[in-house]
Point group: C2
Chain length 159, copies 2
């Protein structure tokens, strides 16, 4: 959906376009091929944080396991079931459960749909400047460069 | 709930203490006496934005009608029905609907429960510094002072 000329205060989330897949380098796209996000915060004109209504198909993940240096993240499970993976292990999250990932906590997280129905959740993340992202399981990092935040190998070589 | 020594990444929201009422000056407390908030973001260790699981009893309101100068707000309706009031009028919000209130948009909003069951919603607001709050229907404003943000009359006299 392009931004409406007159932003409405309240909307039906399903009126917002669903965007599939990720901006990861090609070799990392497969695990998140079954994810789809509706950018509700953008559609409502919010700037300080993003809110997505996200759907994860069976067998797919929310993201590569990662953590942010400066931005907080929050999720609320709406339907289906997702397995949260962190350094502490795995935890099944059913509808109504919430999780939070404070900025700078060096513990990668992601959500995996190991069920046989779509899982839907709400995710919130702020837009604090200078944020970088670490991916502990992959040769991947998102670092600030003069051209903006870019994906690179852990040795600093750009993808 | 006091903050746990070891913050868990995922929690059941109902494990977080519900805080009733408001910090408004006494003469403004009645319309929000039936509101209750569980501070999920705080319980999860988030700092950049707050997330509350809020319950509004029949006849009560989410807040006095207001808008923020620097902070965005977002709500997701989980159960019951709430009537959104803005300068544009009224709109009934059922479960699954979302609303957003961009920082600096001079259009007061609040949610009223005109139904006969509790209404439950998720609310998110960031913590951008220097935020002030305007209450168009009341002789009330929240303004930054050397002692922090304080409630005052529109002529600047403190409550």
């Amino acid at each position: 959906m392009s931004a409406p000329a007159h932003l409405l205060s309240a909307i039906d989330p399903l009126s917002v376009e669903a965007i599939d897949g990720s901006s990861y380098p090609d070799e990392f796209k497969a695990p998140v091929a079954g994810r789809s996000k509706r950018r509700l915060g953008d559609a409502l004109g919010l700037k300080n944080f993003g809110v997505n209504l996200s759907t994860i198909k069976p067998g797919s993940c929310s993201a590569l396991r990662h953590w942010h240096t400066r931005q907080d993240e929050f999720v609320y499970i709406l339907s289906g079931e997702l397995v949260l993976v962190t350094d502490d292990g795995e935890q099944a999250l059913c509808p109504g459960m919430v999780a939070g990932f404070p900025a700078g906590k060096a513990d990668g997280h992601h959500l995996i749909n190991r069920g046989n129905i779509d899982a839907v959740y709400l995710e919130v993340g702020d837009r604090t400047a200078g944020d970088e992202v670490d991916y502990p399981d992959e040769d991947l990092a998102a670092r600030i460069t003069p051209q903006g935040r870019r994906f690179m190998h852990k040795d600093g070589t750009l993808y």
